[in-house]
Assembly symmetry: D4
């Protein structure tokens, strides 16, 4: 996919309709993208089956609606994250097609069928029921990016047998997203049981010395089990996204 | 065990050798302890089979030797904590009787035989081999205070099967001291397996975002398993002491 | 209480209706719990007179009502913590039986009479009147778990005589829960007066450099009095629970 | 690979030399691992071409030498991390075979040829020359785990053209490990250029408000580019390990 | 002011109506306060012209009204701090006598005329207009405690000439309370100008890296000018109280 | 511009209508400003074309209106910052002349035409659309202070080509204000591209481990690119002001 | 004490040997101090019986010796703080007169007899033996500044009876300096017992979650007892200095 | 200064010795720098009279010597920062030309005469004598970058008259670098006195709650005086560099 503008310039040089000096000068004024050089269009990658993403946090319903409408023209799939219930209610008027995932606080609009391009299954594990919104955000994200996704919820370390009862599901996953608040110990235990990449997501669930997720975050960063990498507190989207990239390696 | 001074005063009142007014006045000048009031002699409790304790941290060998010598006169058992190897070497000259526990960085001098007064067994569990010095400090402390103590070391959560293989030992303990650095997840898992009091000890083992034990401390404070209480970072002594009190309830 | 499934399998082996190889394979697919192995059902322990617990924080009244309804079928006692007044109002419609403890921000439903199984008395002490909700949460928790519980409130260290006036009550307790905000000094003073286990609970009472309970938490972790262990900020439930376990050692 | 002990037991059941009841009881006492259940042998995974790993941090040369000697018997490859130069000097006496990687502060002993099992190339990128030790630790780790590894060093964001000059190398990698201290911005820029998983490693390089790597850590956790996951400060080993797992998905 | 109960007891001893032994025992059960021993009635001190104090923060208007009503019986003056405007409105119904100081967010009820017992003048200085509520709280507190109080407001260090223009007022004060938010530099400058005690009060005025007053607090604790002591963030009452004690030395 | 009062005094000395002693005394009581000594009238500087500034944060609309009315008499231009939409609505009633800049959350009243006194162009760059309010505050501030100001918005480091496409605009600016939240990496990249002063503004945009702008702040303070200086989180005004001073050097 | 230079100038004006205009100009160039304006000579205050102070922290022995030598010429008393033992050894060569206070890590040189100018007694109280160096620094400082100083050491809150036994000494002091590490609770208890100003000094004594004195500092700032003001961690000098100023009010 | 490689390519196109398609392809493989596009050579800026800079912190003398030797070939001036005395001693052997600035902990090698290109004077101000090393680093940096630099040292806010005595020097500077530790208040006061850009440098001077410069850093970020921008703790180089860029605007 060559840049027409660049080709056009080179043709003029070839046709000698401009000098080498002025071609050099013009090249330097040419937009970076036109050079095709290190184009590095992140969005191109996304468009290969990836959805356009709108971060709903800090945006009011009007803003979200406006962005969704603008994106529709691009004919790509859409994922809106962090849409709290009251915001969802205000987005209901948007044209048919927008699907609300209330557990994930997300909305999606699937204009093109999602092709499964991820190699294996992404298993999203979470510690407690309060962690589910973040876990579901990871689920919806990974699903929209073309992955088989499974859930294993409410298997916190204080009842380790529940996790162990599911060891075969852990072992059969290609990539794991492990979500936990409070002390954030679940990723360590899970990574100790399997030898697959574990993307750990601390949540802000807890109170007092949990410091809105900092305790869980530190727990995960200091995991005694190798193979754990960590994303920001409550960043279910980031975990689902990273797991998707990993699932295509 | 009445205060002689108090009895003497009352006898004088009775004998009318002093007035009520001057007795009242004298009473108010009497040392708090002589009144037998609110006893509050913490050290008496300790002497009931408890050792005298010297915190070695921040003291040089000369100071420690001086205190040990002074204590010898009191004929009680002695526990010196936080005696790093080089300090130990400098304490070797002290008269026979001082026993060095190098793994625990502790020294003890047992002048009176230790009577087992704790009801059950205190099980000291630790996550990694680097946590052993703190765990051993708890072991020596609890042993000096008259408890049966057992060890279960190197059973971190990244290899959960090692812990589970020992579940019967966990279950047979009356009180557990659980020591861990890094993410500090072990107490949560242990407390989820049993229904006994768990005294959690974070250690400063780790690097980077472990912040010298803060990550482990926060992990333990935010434990999703009820029944966990926490002491200061690296405070093996405090944990052994608390477990001893618990073991006498 | 053997697992039927496991016995069934062994009977088949004995009856030679399956081979050893397939028995081995089946064993490995058997749920963890069926093996009776390290079953370690934490909830079983709880059911031995312990209530089922619902953490009300972060749950809306509808969620709480649904969980309560589901639990009713299990015929166990129920303890709901962190139910703020407005939530309580919305839970009033639940069938007779749910009792509200407004000072504790808790609700309980006692379907089976509570048997006193704790050995001694648990004394819940608090520093200021603002600490009472957390202290009461500990009281209700310990009471629901089958303990004799007493209160000693508003005995902060700035008026030390009030605490000392009650020294006999302190001395007669088997376990103490000591609740304090601001500088969190009360547990140190109490633990210096007695030789019983002290479970310290920092509260978020204070402002400015109290950092929502961090000052009190650090104060307690650094207590100069041995025998103090600490739970999370405002965690009255955890303290009551730990004290209950200690009271059964 | 069946557990002999389990098979033996089942054979006895079959032979009716023990009752079902005693077999059930014996099963429950059998070590977790013997059941083959949730085997969970993390080390098995490692042995599939993975090296045995010794964390040198906090261990003295004598300890390291002892562990290395013990491991030799197991005939697996060995990776020793965090071996500072002076420690290395003291390990020189170990028998031929131990290879020192001074840039990585690591030592390896390759007893079995390393088979490349990773799918693509792992590219280790670092921002400044001071970050190289951490980057090299990731390189050595990934190499020992059977991956093709390449380096792209000293391409910090303050001289963005150096990074862009290498965009084709970035694009051709399967997984990227990106190492940076100070503001830790490099992973964001790299992840914006490609659509591959990026494992970010903050280093403790910096001073003042870098807080020993915290600034870089926070920068990476808050990356505006999706696809970035983070490990602990200076954790080159963890990043190399995680990248290896990702490279086998 | 002897304790009647103690005198009564001693009289009985004198009258031989009880034995020395039982007198000893009874003495030990006597409330601490009755012994007159270290009576240490902090409130007595307060009653010497000091008001009774109610901390309004975290109390609802009903609670405050109830406490005020209860205190009225004691016939002492009353100071209620941290009464935000909406709370004040709800307290208007209380009987005549309660005076509202809206700038100080305080209410007072002066039943006994306030006698000036402080030696010199307490000068309350503040940096910006936003710091006035905290400064006024100090003013009202010191005034209620019997001090001459003066104000010097809005003399922040960014316009140092305004402060210098008032140097004679600074010099004529006996004690200074210096209130500042943001960088909290004012106490350093003031303490450098005079040789009187300076009680510094950081306020939570600021945003971003002021961290709700932490920047100002740290600034004051690290003052390069000797003679500065610090109270908690926004603690105008504490500063006014301490300044009053200092003004009576 | 001599102080009349000082001149008057000296004239009296000259006329011998007062003694040297009383002149000395009077001099010492003279207001600092009258001495013309280190006059240091910061506001004078501001009035040289600079606006009067009202910080709207923490002030209610009534306060702002009152200050604006008072300032009108001084006939200077006015800039009100941090006026959230709802406050703006309540300020609409103020007399014609007040102009609202909703994107900047600012209001201005230009009574004297603004003269361009800045030497070059101030370019305000921001990373994401959420950073625009802070960036616009810088724009409005710099414009009111007499500078040519340009905008380059939404050029975050995750899409580095967008920034590079605008390199000529970066290079032609005299001073740059660079605004970014999250990891705050943009100033480093920008400062690496040009050799002009960069004033970096961290914003509170982000969540979790962004800690309300702390991550961005630390990132900027640790910038690996020389030439970056930093202001407080969200301090668009401070950046615009500093850039204006720089643009007049 | 008029400034000669100022008087000289005014005399010239009077003598008409210079014009009013040039006098005005000269006045503005006159050093601030010469104007006698806003006196502000902090050092004068100090010289009124106060010692010259050298902060030894961070200075090497050579620097200290040089400063001491320079100061000798000024004929004032000298106080050198934070002189660790090894530094003291290197200062021994200084001429007779320098006295070393090893417990206080301080050195003094008393050239003029110290006159007692403080009104009452300053009582320096400390919690543990490890706090003594900081307490002694306060003692030496207050003594050098002309106060009667007494010591009450090793009266920590874990053994409250020792403190209570000394209540009369507490009550007879005019000002108290209370020094404590670990949880820093002592000032609260002391301030609750008396109604005198308490200057609290947190020390860095402790480990783990004491964070080098931060726990004690926070405890003191959040004191539930009014009348407590706080200085920086380990700042015995600052406390002694502030207590001295208070003792002269 | 055209890239020869680019010109060569365009000449070939013109000469039709290669096709447009292959020229397009070749262009895309061409190193970023060769395109002359967004040249972005940060070092070019530096070479315009700027020195090459070596950050000595964390580098051993051998490394520094090696880099210095390598740089010599480039014929540019050299500035080495953070060279502690012992490192300096080890660098003495380097060939004549390297000049050591011990107060600044820096070394310079001036191969080309430094041309004054800065417009005005850069005044470097510092609060205490302990801040001088950082201040001198700023001085040396600014001087090496071609500026007139002046010093105003030891003018801390606790003795405000010393600063005010120098107000004319403050006013005559074009740019100010203000260096302070402890509470870091000096930049606020200075910026309130003048209307020039102030680059504030917090230093790590202090102890206890100064947290190695954090208190000073926060103080400067929260400056109540507009016009202050801040660099990292102890970053004298960064301040000198930024001031140099500002001085050329």
């Amino acid at each position: 996919m060559d840049s027409e503008r660049l080709v056009e310039l080179l043709k003029k040089v070839r046709a000698r309709s401009i000098t080498v000096a002025s071609a050099t000068a013009e090249l330097r004024h040419m937009p970076f993208e036109d050079l095709g050089f290190a184009k590095i269009d992140h969005h191109r990658a996304l468009r290969q089956g990836f959805p356009e993403v709108i971060m709903g946090l800090g945006k009011n319903p009007e803003d979200i609606a406006a962005i969704v409408r603008a994106m529709r023209r691009r004919k790509s799939n859409i994922l809106v994250t962090r849409v709290e219930p009251e915001k969802m209610a205000k987005l209901k008027h948007l044209r048919t097609g927008l699907k609300f995932h209330s557990a994930a606080r997300a909305a999606t609009w699937t204009r093109k069928p999602i092709k499964i391009s991820g190699k294996g299954t992404i298993l999203v594990v979470c510690a407690g029921t309060s962690d589910i919104p973040v876990a579901e955000e990871a689920v919806v994200t990974a699903a929209m990016m073309g992955n088989r996704v499974e859930r294993l919820f409410d298997v916190g370390v204080a009842g380790i047998h529940r996790l162990l009862d599911n060891h075969r599901r852990l072992e059969s996953a290609a990539v794991l997203v492990v979500v936990a608040g409070m002390e954030g110990a679940l990723p360590s235990v899970v990574a100790g049981l399997i030898d697959k990449p574990v993307v750990a997501v601390p949540t802000s669930i807890g109170y007092g010395a949990s410091f809105h997720g900092v305790a869980a975050l530190l727990g995960m960063l200091n995991s005694c089990a190798a193979g754990v990498t960590v994303v920001n507190i409550d960043n279910g989207f980031g975990a689902g996204f990273a797991a998707s990239l990993i699932n295509r390696v």
